[in-house]
Homo-oligomer: 217 residues x 2
DNA sequence: AATAATTTTTAGACTAGTCTAAAAATAATG
DNA sequence: CATTATTTTTAGACTAGTCTAAAAATTATT
């Protein structure tokens, strides 16, 4: 069994690994958990004792297979709860994160299995992120950033890179939701902004937005 | 805000107060939380600082109004989650307690309001215990123990005194569920056992059972 | 009322998790 | 390659929550 704190560390390392491949640095973990490097070093030693990470001083950490499975299961719970909050409890996608952050630590295999069934075995959370299965396997889709599309190309919204409330509410305001088709009409060299078509309407989109919205061609 | 531990102490005191009226003793709290009296004394001081209990050395504690409201809110959450687990996730009434014990500490007013609505604003949990409203008010029903009924009298099952898995599964086996009518056919002076009628069938019930089943006349 | 039994509190210690400040190791730079 | 700069680890301290053992207060019993 893992403590709440250990679980949060595991999850942070899991997410950092999916981006960077190499050993995860103490500082990277500290930044992602808004804690201090010295605290991270302490915790890493505990996690290493528990055989969920491999650790050699000054070399960063890597999750073991056991660690990966454990972390994936926490992510699974987090995302299933997010679906529940949106589908059953009328939360909007920018309200779910903090609550899911708590709910992901509830210990009960039956609870999560039944929740999965209640929700109809969803494959993705409200932000388009894939839900790991019971074994910790994830279906990674080949999604690309809107900013990488060329003029005339189009795709369907499938996820966000930044899932802050601010960004999500911005998307809501612009009526950009998952599942909608976007076509790039124009790319401005000057400020890298885009002119896109969505819902048959023309919309101007900044570089920052285009860098945080994932599409599937 | 209260820590998980503080919340568990508050809830324990709340339940003990509803039985005993007077100041709750250190030992009683220790017993109910399976901890040591010295730990209780420490925690009581913190709770007293936070103005949720009144405390004078060697005199036991009483909840303040604020403390009562806070505790009732935790009980509210516990019982709403129990209803959710039974109604939506196919848990049986003997499986819900440990999970609800964790879920009751999740912090999110919106979560609990929406859950309440999803469940159709239930008034009682799966064990027949009343669910406090948002203000912490409880609808106490005048329920009586089966053991207090006289020969020929009858009532409807509305709750349990002991909510251990063992007792609840025993009731399941005997098909004694909330809402069913029970009539006392015979009272044995020898061992205080009862002969009852339920579902048109005759059943023999020990003193221990009769002391843990609540009826409403 | 005096003594014994019980309850409660205190004193001191321990673990988990965190922090600051300093030391050690690694990486970057001229 | 020698010197800086950065990263990481260690050392020591702090809080929350718990425990054991001993002291103090209360309650029960002769
Ligand atoms: Mn979390
Ligand atoms: Mn998400
Ligand atoms: Mn609890
Ligand atoms: Mn209950």
């Amino acid at each position: 069994m893992f403590t709440l704190s250990e679980e949060n560390y595991l999850k942070a390392i899991y997410h950092l690994e999916s981006d960077s491949k190499k050993g995860i640095s103490t500082n990277a973990i500290a930044k992602s958990l808004e804690t201090k490097a010295s605290s991270v070093t302490d915790m890493i030693k505990k996690l290493s004792e528990k055989e969920v990470v491999l650790y050699k001083k000054y070399q960063g950490v890597t999750l073991t297979e056991f660690g990966k499975k454990t972390a994936a299961n926490i992510v699974r719970k987090h995302r299933l709860w997010e679906v529940f909050l949106v589908e059953k409890l009328n939360f909007s996608w920018d309200e779910v994160h903090d609550v899911a952050e708590q709910l992901e630590h509830i210990k009960s295999p039956k609870l999560i299995n039944e929740l999965d069934a209640l929700l109809g075995f969803p494959t993705h959370d409200p932000h388009g992120d894939p839900i790991p299965d019971k074994e910790g396997n994830v279906n990674t889709v080949d999604k690309i950033l809107l900013s990488t599309l060329n003029k005339e190309e189009s795709g369907v919204c499938v996820g966000v890179n930044d899932s802050s409330s601010e960004f999500l509410r911005f998307l809501d305001k612009k009526k950009i939701t998952l599942g909608k088709k976007i076509t790039v009409l124009e790319k401005e060299d000057f400020d890298d902004s885009l002119s896109i078509e969505i819902d048959g309407e023309k919309l101007s989109i900044s570089k920052k937005i285009a860098n945080n919205l994932y599409l599937k061609k």
